[in-house]
Amino acid sequence: MLAYIIRRLVYGVVTLLALSLVVFLLIQASGGGPLDRLKLNPRMAPVIAQLTEQWGLDKPIMQQYFTWLRNFVTPTDVASAAGLTVIFGKIGIQGIMPIVTIVIAGAYTAWAFLAKINQSWWRAFRAFSIVFVWVIGLWLAKSRIVFSLSWGDSFRGDGAVWDNIFGAAGATFRLGITALLLALLIGIPLGIFQAIRQYSFFDQVGTTLSFIAFSTPIFIIAIGFQLLLALYLEKWTGVKLFFVTGMTDPGYNDLGFMAQIGDVVRHLVLPALSIALISIASYSRFQRASMLEVMHSDYLRTAKAKGLPRRRVILKHALRNALIPIVTLVSLDVAGIIGGAIITESIFGWPGVGRLYIQAINAVDYPTVMAVVMSIGIGIVIMNIVADILYGVLDPRVRYD
């Protein structure tokens, strides 16, 4: 298993290198280089000199690429180089928190993998709980971790690329995770019901709707939601249910706790649902097909012949098998959700990585463009590996070798 993960990581790194090289060369090949646009502004001369120095822009292209690559993986300073450096200045429960959470997460992971576990539901729970513990742990630790790579300064003059991206990442995570959860919570049950009531009216409507969702570009969905569920809804009924720009109201900090939650939700629903809609369509189609295949399987006939109630047959024997292939689909869909976020963020003025990317691309701000593309690429590689491991945990037949 370890060998398998390492091999996957190596492939992932090769893919990322190829990705960076292609994007880098394309940017270099377009219109004579990234600094040409800055040269139009005479006041930028010192900046140009500095950037030229930093990125070695007067050197041959391949050398520039290696300069970029070296910078990309180099921590900014000594403290950062030490790794996940924790500020011990304010020791106390706050300062120790990150270490504690990471140690707990690590210990839990080690224990969960070493324990001899044969209960199948427990195996599934274990997989999810490990991911969960790490997410919570890193989230708790994040404010205390000082670590950055020297991804350089933005060509648009708005500071360090690393800070920009990680400043925007939270917003994109909020949007992406919500969209993913919506898609899973709506799409999978939908597919299951469609399969159980195959050829029913509900099934036919579901199938038709998912075909329509498949065939609609996400920006039309997003604009449609904006127009129908926000603009016209307010115009016609006077009810202002959802907001269409930004993550929160300008006066957010003055709101009470419940009002804050309400405000966040009302901002979040429309963009998240726009992204989720296509995923809902694809999950429900896939879940339906996978469920139908399982429902016609021999082992389901055995389960029925044993005298199990229909509910139990479906919920225990069919569902568990039918959910396994979904894991792969979801991991492949992560790229789709990121793509959806890029477009939706621009439409809803969502201050995330997607909007940052579009702004950077319009200005051919190449340190930012490169860094965002690479971050997305890294995210996808990690997700695919996680999905493979999850698959192995869910399906006892899979052995990695």
């Binding site: 219109g31 498949f214 593309v373």
Partner: protein, 334 residues
């Protein structure tokens, strides 16, 4: 086509010797299944009409009147706005009898642009489909037929392509395309450049499918037989294996056509797709989305409907073909 569908599994009546039953060929089954798929049939007719309108009627009826090649008495100008008697632009006119689809923000006739816009969108779809089908089939066939180093190398490359984040890469290339001076003009702007871009990004999935088909078909007895009879590799690949692997290729290509049209629309929305003045449905829907907030809904609705219904038709055809080409389905089912 008949040849393609003669699967080794054979028809359902292969062993019915001595029985007086009319033989049913795979081709008959294919047609029967496709007929039963009413949506696919309607979609085929619809798509056919759209193609004729976009590629023949559109160019005949409308043109850029400022341009040189416009020597034909066309009815519509799709690049300049309509003007009233006082030579003022008729901006954002709601649909009415003489302008059934209204006008856009620059006073241009939306109907003329919708009719014309299909050309770019469909070109992107079909050229991408063609590229994906050819690259994916060749790579998949070679990888599936020659195990070992060829397979390894090609599949690593395929994995690499599949590992690229599609939209971010498409966006950056789409943005830079007009500035890549080493490319020929027809690639730098217009639908062909986008189609090539998408074609090169999307073939990975098909290559994997074709490889899997080849891997299983290579071991089948009829391939062994051909090999024993001294057929060359080329002949075995093209005459014996490929025809049997045709149905997933056709179905996958259809789905890619739909996907490419949608991705082009998304790129156009961001301003990185087919560049103006060439109208595309995606670009029009994006423009229409901007003015719809002010109540001018028609450009979004008409361009959007044209786009969605065309992609929907393509997807229904794909679905119909998937059912119809599945040789394990007999006529009795359902």
């Amino acid at each position: 086509m008949t040849d393609l569908l003669n699967r080794p599994e054979g028809g359902p009546n292969d062993d019915a010797e001595g029985m007086a039953v009319e033989p049913i060929t795979q081709w008959d089954l294919f047609i029967a299944r496709l007929r039963r798929h009413r949506l696919a049939m309607i979609s085929t007719i619809f798509l056919f009409v759209i193609i004729i309108v976009s590629f023949i009627i559109g160019p005949l009826l409308s043109c850029d009147k400022g341009a040189v090649e416009c020597d034909f008495p066309q009815l519509w100008d799709y690049t300049d706005g309509l003007r009233d008697d006082n030579d003022r632009l008729l901006v954002n006119i709601a649909p009415r009898t003489e302008i059934p689809f209204g006008t856009d923000e620059l006073g241009r006739d939306v109907l003329a642009r919708v009719v014309r816009g299909g050309q770019a969108s469909l070109t992107v779809g079909f050229v991408t489909g063609l590229l994906v089908a050819s690259i994916g089939t060749v790579v998949g066939a070679l990888a599936g037929y020659y195990p070992g180093i060829v397979d390894q190398a090609l599949m690593r490359f395929t994995d690499l392509i599949l590992g690229l984040p599609l939209l971010p890469v498409a966006i950056v290339v789409g943005r830079l395309l007009p500035e890549l001076t080493f490319l020929p003009d027809w690639m730098q702007s217009g639908p062909w450049g986008i189609a090539f871009l998408l074609g090169f990004l999307l073939w990975g999935g098909l290559a994997r499918i074709v490889r899997a088909e080849f891997l299983s078909l290579r071991e089948k007895e009829f391939v062994e037989a051909a090999r024993a009879a001294g057929a060359s590799d080329r002949r075995i690949i093209f005459r014996h294996i490929l025809p049997n692997a045709m149905s997933p290729i056709i179905v996958q290509t259809t789905l890619i056509i739909g996907a490419a049209i949608i991705i082009e629309a998304a790129l156009s929305f961001l301003g990185f797709g087919v560049r103006p003045p060439t109208p595309t449905w995606g670009g029009m829907a994006a423009e229409g989305g901007g003015v719809a907030v002010r109540g001018f809904w028609w450009e979004l609705v008409f361009a959007g409907s044209a786009l969605v219904s065309t992609v929907l038709a393509v997807n229904f055809i794909g679905d119909g073909l998937r059912d119809a080409l599945d040789p394990t389905q007999t006529i009795e089912r359902k």
